[in-house]
Point group: C2
Chain length 240, copies 2
DNA sequence: CAAATAGTGTCTTTGAGACAATATGCC
DNA sequence: GGCATATTGTCTCAAAGACACTATTTG
């Protein structure tokens, strides 16, 4: 409730106003590894560090609308689903002033990653390297040359949480399909799962499991341009 | 990232300040059903409706600290773990002014429920009735007489999400033990699981599964005061 | 001994991993 | 035909549901 007379009387800071922003983790799979789109900061604090695209929440703007606005304005992606990740509100997370940030997770298919990189040339695609696949929560954020990329604020923590969330949902929801083109082979689907989990999977078991979920439908067409037997193309069925 | 020069320039509302509060879902199991502690509002809007205990976040107060303060001041519970649930920020969720709320979930053992009800006589313990166990997200909040209890703001939605989260974590984490006394029988543990899930469970399978997790340790002592064979008491082992 | 619940043993089914065999398109 | 990968079949093992049996305490 937070705002009846009682709490206002009890709490001297009842009418404090805070800056609230949204930060978006734009995550995908590229070259067999999870990746995220970041912006390089030019100004202090954390000048030269990479940061999540974000923006302040307007006084008359819903949180999700703010997230969609950032997706549109900073990545040129008008229609990407995004899901709330966590809200970070440590007092000193920004050295200058108090800012609470609501972090969101958006999943990008390969084409969307390239579209965003083209729409905003300032975006860079960082690889998320996972030292251990035990979900320890520690990740390494690497630039395209494989060098460690320092992150601004608590954004490395946000990225780690995003990857952990994605892993947790991989087996129980249809999130994997947001990371693939509309038509894909079972091998591509398995590659995505393996990239996110950081482990290899058993091929027949994976195939059985995916087909048994009913999430995917064979299209009857096959991939082309291979130098070997082409695999059947599947598409996502769309429901839970 | 929400606060570099670029976003400040791009966003006219960059320096808007919002009211931020925390609302706590104090959840437990009572009489074989999930329940939550609520306060009855005396003032408009939603006078007479029940609401989650909450409070504003101070300008120099971390979100989790605000949640702990509410737990202490409104329920007399100084040391209860709580976990962030979701942040609600629709513009019109409060009819008077814009308030963003960060909802938290705290799990209470039976003794903690009674302690809170005693510490703050204004608290009432509402039963969460689950029409279907299919996780549809719809719940009925009932007072002690079994009558439907109207909830203020979007708090019914918050309660539904809390129950859904609890269900999701039940099988994969040790949350069930936070809802029980320090020493408990396997039947009590199963009752808690059945109450949260809204289904019945197979006794031998449940017993096997719980012992195999390594989460619980038999104490060698037995319950007393039964009119039949007393069950062995177990305690939670404490790690993941 | 009767009642009531605790606790155990066993059969069956299901689903996943391992491994290997077969199929098929391209050179 | 030979290569490389797709696709399928089968064996084994682990875990859960079903069901029935044994154990133990109170009255």
């Amino acid at each position: 409730m937070a705002d009846n007379d009682i709490s206002a009387r009890e709490d001297p800071d009842a009418y404090a106003r805070l800056s609230v922003c949204v930060d978006i983790v734009l995550m995908g799979v590229r070259k067999g590894a999870p990746c995220a789109l970041l912006l390089r900061r030019g100004v202090s604090p954390f000048a030269g560090h990479a940061a999540l695209p974000g923006g302040f929440v307007g006084a008359q703007e819903a949180l999700e609308d703010a997230a969609q606005r950032v997706l549109r304005d900073k990545a040129g992606l008008p229609d990407v689903r995004c899901e709330q990740l966590y809200t970070f509100g440590e007092v000193a997370r920004d050295p200058r002033r108090r800012i609470v940030t609501v972090a969101w997770l958006a999943l990008l298919a390969p084409a969307a990653i390239e579209a965003a990189l083209e729409a905003n040339p300032e975006l860079l695609c960082a690889t998320l390297d996972v030292p251990d696949s035990d979900g320890s929560g520690d990740i390494a954020v690497l630039d395209s040359a494989g060098a460690r990329l320092p992150l601004a604020f608590d954004h490395e923590q946000i990225l780690a949480l995003a990857l952990e969330r994605l892993r947790g949902k991989l087996d129980y929801t249809a999130v994997g399909f947001d990371l693939l083109p509309p038509f894909f082979t079972l091998r591509q689907l398995q590659d995505v799962h393996e990239a996110i989990r950081g482990t290899t999977l058993n091929k027949p078991a994976f195939r059985r499991r995916m087909i048994d979920t009913g999430w995917i439908v064979p299209t009857g067409t096959r991939e082309t341009g291979t130098s070997h037997r082409p695999a059947e193309l599947y598409c996502f069925r769309g429901l839970s």
